[in-house]
Structure formats: structure tokens, C-alpha cells
């Protein structure tokens, strides 16, 4: 009986908060101050990695496939249009859009583990390049860049 109570209590404790997850997330203003620190990670990428070319750049499906992958794995933190959330920086800024594809690929592969960005090497290499293609296709958002400069 004791075990039965323990099981139901633990399941109940986990069930309660899970209901809240059904509620839609309110949009959260990106945290630009933290972003500036995160973007410096792009500058730390080794030159050899930066020089890598995107093997998917001529693949007509790469952006669409990358968008699929982005929606599945990245939207939660980076926002639906890559505009950024409180959890992770925006991707439609010059720091990212002007970065070499190899640098973005390197960040995807290695993560920024101490700042909360997980390692994504579990996605096969072609899928990471497809993600790079999609991220580069986002372009800069003028609004985001203006706010950054403020």
C-alpha cells in the first residue's frame, strides 16, 4: 500500500505542472544584454571550422528541410521566426547573419553548453548544414538590429 501511495503521489506531482504546459507561452522580450555575450561565442570559433563550406548550399530543399528541423528542435528557445526569446538569442541579427556558415555549423555541433545551448551533434551532419541553410535564409530583421544598437 505504501508503494502504491508513493507512485500515485509522484505521478500526481508531475501531472499537475504538465497541465500548465498546455497553456500557450506568452511572447517574451528577448534579453539583448545576455545576447551580446552569446554572440561573442561566434568569434571564438576556430578558423578551420569557419572556413568550411556548406555542402548543402546548392541543394534546393535544404532551406525547407532546415525549417522543419528548426521548428522541431530550435523554436522552443530561439522563437518561431528566430527572433529570440528570454531563453536564447535572436538569430536574425548581423552577428549571426554575417557569420560564416562554418561558424554557425560549429556552434550547432559544439553547443554553448555553459550558457544553456545544448550540443546538437546528435543531428547528423547533413541535417546540421540544412539548419545552417535555413538560419542564413532568415536574413536580418531591421527592428531587431535597431534594438540591439539602442
Amino acid at each position: 500500500m505504501k508503494e502504491f501511495v508513493i507512485v500515485l503521489t509522484i505521478v500526481g506531482v508531475l501531472l499537475g505542472p504538465s497541465h500548465i504546459l498546455g497553456q500557450s507561452e506568452k511572447p517574451v522580450a528577448p534579453n539583448y544584454k545576455a545576447d551580446a555575450l552569446v554572440y561573442t561565442e561566434l568569434a571564438k570559433v576556430p578558423d578551420k571550422a569557419k572556413a568550411k563550406r556548406n555542402p548543402m548550399e546548392n541543394d534546393l530543399n535544404a532551406v525547407a528541410a532546415g525549417q522543419n528541423l528548426f521548428e522541431q528542435h530550435c523554436v522552443e528557445c530561439h522563437g518561431s521566426g528566430g527572433q529570440g526569446t528570454k531563453k536564447a538569442p535572436g538569430l536574425r541579427v548581423e552577428e549571426v547573419q554575417n557569420a560564416p556558415p562554418g561558424a554557425i555549423f560549429w556552434i550547432l555541433t559544439n553547443g554553448v553548453v555553459r550558457r544553456g545551448m545544448p550540443v546538437w551533434s546528435k543531428l547528423p551532419e547533413p541535417q546540421r548544414w540544412q539548419l545552417v541553410s535555413f538560419i542564413k535564409s532568415l536574413g536580418t530583421s531591421p527592428k531587431t538590429t535597431e534594438k540591439m544598437l539602442d
Partner: protein
């Protein structure tokens, strides 16, 4: 009472899974025993249900099951809670214990071999049959003890693993070295688990689809005991090899299937495992809202 417990446990796990409506898509590893170096994404909770059907020579076959709640505390630390039970056919159904596990990634970047440190506390009864790992001199004969007797034995164990894992050209290779210590006066026991897996396709499709090849990961794992501090080696140990396949659905569900085969006379001849899991994004933020009233 035991049947009701089994029913309540299974129903509670199932209801919990159904209630979790804000699911994320995960690229889950297909392994059931072996760990690779990938941790849960920060703030996400993965709820998993696993079943193991096992044959038993000289006794009754069994169905062991466990629920797993895996939470990404940070990008370098994942914590998990397990609740275990089993039904031995023509005997009874019993709750067999709980486990609290932590995995820590010590290195910041990806390397050719990536280590992860694993620590687990287990509070389980002698009736535990989930075979989540095999260590020491665990053999098939141990499972012959009737549940009523076996559940009287209570074990408190600490388990440590060194997880080494590499991903090369879509292939994942994982090696786990296991050391466990029963906190009563028993010697250290050792075991191993090895795994290799690869998605059926490396490129993603341009359209979301359930049956695309990249959603399937196939592989094989092998695991077994390595004796204890006094008798290290393969003598009187059990070993298994198990093909594994997992299916990551775009809806956020992951299904796994793994038939396992005993490699010597000390092993169960056949194990059939399956699991269903779902990842819930933003669980940590939801708990924050629950206790703070805002985010």
C-alpha cells in the same frame, strides 16, 4: 492488491503521457541499456514508459516495467527518476523500487570521444527484474525466487558509470563502464554496455512526415556483467546482444523496440523490450510559473 497496483501504475503512467500536450520533437537515442553522451535539452522533461518481457528457464516468464522522468536541469546536467515494477506470470505483480540518476557532461565542447559521468542511487527490492543494466554475477537463476520472498530483500545501491560516446558520419558508438556498490557489506560489482546506431537517412526531408527514413534509428547493443572485486572477469556472468530500433514521430512521440538474446547459459534466452516516450518542452518554465505565479 498486487493486480490493482499493476493496473494503477500502468494507468497512471499512461494518463500522465496523455496529459502532456505540449510536446517537443526529440531525436532520441534508440538504446535501452546503453547511454550515449547526449543529455536532455535544458528545461525539458521526457516521460518514458518501458516494458521488458523475459523468458525464464525453470520458472515463470515475467514482464517488468518502469516509468522514467528525465529532466534537463542545464545543458550539462540531466537528472532522472525511475519507478520500477514487475509481474511474474502465475505469481504476482510487485512494485520493485525507485532510482534517482544524474548525468553530468564535464567537457564544454564536442570531442572525438565524449565522456559523461553518471551517478545513481537505487532503492530496490530483491524482486527487481527490469534488467536496466547487468552487473557483477547477475544470472538468470537469481530470478527464480518467488516474488513474496524476493520482495522482502531491500537493497540500497550506488551505481557509477563512465559513459564514452562518439558520433562519426552519422554513426554513434557508445561504451559504458559500470561499477556499483550495494551499501550493505557487499563487494563492488562491474558491468559493461556497448552500443552502435545510425539513422536510416542522414538528410532531413523537406516535408514533415512520419515514415521518412530519417525518423528511424537502428542499431545494436550488447551488455553484461564483469564479476565483482573478488572475482573480476566473465566467469559466472550473463551477457546479451539486442538489436534496437527507434521511431521518432514528428508529433513528439518516440517508440522503441528491442528483441534481446542471451549469449550464454547464465542469461535469459530471450528478452523483448519496447518503450514509448514523449518530450515536454518548457517543463522547467511551467514549474517556475506554478510556484512564482509569473515568469
Amino acid at each position: 492488491m498486487t493486480f490493482r497496483l499493476h493496473l494503477a501504475f500502468s494507468a497512471a503512467c499512461f494518463l500522465l503521457l496523455l496529459a502532456l500536450c505540449d510536446a517537443g520533437h526529440a531525436q532520441e537515442s534508440p538504446y535501452i541499456v546503453t547511454y550515449d553522451h547526449y543529455l536532455e535539452e535544458p528545461g525539458n522533461l521526457e516521460v518514458e514508459y518501458f516494458s521488458t518481457f523475459g523468458t525464464q528457464r525453470g520458472g515463470n516468464d515475467f514482464h517488468a516495467f518502469w516509468a522514467e522522468f528525465e529532466y534537463g536541469a542545464t545543458a550539462w546536467w540531466t537528472t532522472e527518476l525511475y519507478l520500477d515494477g514487475q509481474t511474474t506470470f502465475q505469481d504476482s505483480t510487485v512494485f520493485t523500487g525507485l532510482r534517482f540518476e544524474n548525468r553530468i557532461r564535464p567537457l564544454k565542447r564536442e570531442h572525438f570521444i565524449n565522456p559523461v559521468l553518471y551517478f545513481e542511487y537505487e532503492r530496490k527490492s530483491g524482486a527487481d527484474k527490469i534488467l536496466k543494466e547487468v552487473e557483477g554475477h547477475d544470472v538468470e537463476l537469481d530470478f527464480l525466487v518467488p516474488n513474496a520472498e524476493a520482495r522482502k530483500e531491500h537493497n540500497h545501491e550506488l551505481e557509477f558509470k563512465l559513459i564514452l560516446s562518439s558520433t562519426v558520419k552519422g554513426w554513434n558508438f557508445a561504451e559504458n563502464i559500470i561499477a556499483s556498490k550495494n551499501l550493505s557489506n557487499n563487494p563492488w560489482e562491474f558491468g559493461y554496455a556497448l552500443g552502435a546506431s545510425r539513422p536510416l537517412a542522414l538528410k532531413a526531408s523537406a516535408k514533415r512526415c512520419s515514415f521518412c527514413r530519417e525518423n528511424f534509428i537502428a542499431g545494436v547493443e550488447m551488455f553484461g556483467g564483469l564479476g565483482d572485486r573478488h572475482s573480476f572477469g566473465l566467469s559466472n556472468t550473463s551477457h546479451y546482444v539486442a538489436p534496437v530500433v527507434d521511431w521518432n514521430l514528428p508529433s513528439g512521440w518516440t517508440l522503441r523496440l528491442s528483441p534481446g538474446f542471451g549469449l550464454n547459459n547464465n542469461s535469459h534466452a530471450f528478452l523483448l523490450r519496447w518503450s514509448v516516450s514523449r518530450e515536454i518542452t518548457g517543463f522547467g518554465a511551467a514549474v517556475n510559473r506554478l510556484f512564482r505565479g509569473h515568469q
